[in-house]
């Protein structure tokens, strides 16, 4: 399920064409990923960072399990970043609408 849905945008008063929506959704996901990664990196100790880098060839399940086990409140971090980003979008509704 995409986080930035068309329904959410419509409810914010933002009506976009399919292509514009795709662009905005992509930008949203990229920004979110960057922010989440930044937060996670800040949470890690050097040894944890090293351990994580060794997991680059691991499958998704292993990486997620490792993150959950080693990053304090990872789900809270992700949820907070989503809240912040959607809040920013709500705050700049007019800008997006007139862009």
């Amino acid at each position: 399920m995409p986080i930035l849905t068309k329904t959410l945008l419509n409810d914010l008063g933002i009506v976009l064409s399919e292509s514009d929506y795709a662009l905005l959704a992509e930008h949203f996901e990229t920004t979110l990923n960057e922010r989440v990664i930044n937060e996670i990196v800040l949470e890690l100790t050097p040894s944890q960072a090293e351990a994580l880098s060794q997991l680059k060839d691991a499958d998704d399940t292993q990486v997620i399990t490792w993150l959950r086990a080693n990053v304090t409140d990872i789900e809270e971090i992700v949820a907070d970043e989503v809240d912040i980003l959607i809040g920013e979008l709500a705050d700049n509704t007019e800008l997006v609408r007139t862009a």
Binding site: P2, L8, N10, N33, L42, E43, A69, A79, G87
Partner: protein, 297 residues
């Protein structure tokens, strides 16, 4: 993606309280929190995967993950798991994060309300037409009564026929007023129905924006507190500290963080150095206030 959380309908939004329900994955045991419905506490990790004690802080041993998908299995066993979780792709992978975004469906609700209003107005059309005809008849009756009364313009007011016609005209005028009121009310009622649809839409829109901004402020507050605790080396206690912090305090911290961020952005956009300097000073002051607000005792 190899790991997928149970997908399905989103979290339920309580229209009466205006709050989210079941946002937190209920399958995961979480300690009590003061974050209310917006809360989504940490997953209870297996004992051997808990963060190390402060004594090991410099170089904590890297936890070895236990058997994976424990949380997912627990989630899957919940009777209404599909209602509580959504499957969101983050960091290129699927996380069973809480259903963050409500399918608010303001547009859909507006469409339904609009159709309902149109249908009710359609049902009211015969009544309106009947009232309109009756009004026209009353107008004609008044015109006729007035004409007949005016025919006796030269006659004395004491004349019994003139008094009788005056009374007839008077009654007809009263009846006309009543019909006019009934017609106006019917018109107002029908117009209000259509107008209410737009008003309700705007109200819901404003409420949605307000909710999202409040959630952002709370999230910023938690983030600022986490950052501050990390700075002073108390990240391990951050989780507990966050839960001790009241919602209001978090919102205040979040608001300050938001203003500080905005001021810094504005400072970078200003054209002159003096303006930049003033705005940067303002941002620094806010930053200091933010640090004070998040100061760990």
């Amino acid at each position: 993606m190899s790991e997928k959380a149970p997908s399905g309908p989103k979290a339920k939004y309580n229209q009466e309280t205006g709050e989210w329900e079941n946002l937190r994955p209920a399958a995961i045991d979480t300690p009590p929190t003061n974050r209310g419905d917006l809360a989504n506490g940490p997953i209870s990790l297996p004992v051997d995967t808990l963060p190390p004690s402060p004594s090991d802080e410099l170089d904590p041993p890297v936890a070895i993950p236990e058997t994976p998908a424990t949380a997912e299995e627990t989630i899957a066993k919940r009777p209404n798991a599909e209602l509580l979780y959504s499957d969101a792709e983050l960091l290129g992978r699927h996380y069973p994060v809480r259903a963050m975004v409500r399918e608010m469906g303001n547009v859909r609700t507006t469409a339904i309300e609009g159709m309902r209003a149109t249908w009710k107005n359609m049902l009211d059309q015969p009544g309106r037409f009947r009232t309109y005809l009756s009004l026209q008849l009353a107008k004609k009756r008044v015109a006729r009564a007035t004409r007949r009364y005016n025919e006796l313009g030269d006659v004395s007011d004491d004349n019994i026929i003139k008094q009788h016609r005056w009374q007839k005209r008077h009654d007809a005028t009263h009846a006309l007023d009543a019909k006019q009121m009934a017609y106006d009310y019917k018109e107002w009622q029908m117009k209000k129905r259509s107008k209410d649809v737009l008003t309700n839409q705007q109200t819901r829109h404003d409420e949605n924006i307000k909710t999202l901004k409040t959630r952002r402020d709370l999230a910023l507050g938690r983030k600022a507190l986490r950052t501050e605790l990390r700075t002073v080396g108390l990240r391990r206690e951050a989780s507990a500290e966050l839960k001790r912090t009241s919602k209001q305090q978090l919102a205040e911290v979040g608001n300050l963080a938001s203003i500080a961020k905005f001021s810094q952005k504005r400072a970078n956009l200003l054209p002159t150095d003096a303006a930049k300097h003033t705005a940067a000073q303002h941002a620094t002051q806010l930053d200091k206030a933010l640090k004070d607000a998040t100061k760990v005792k």
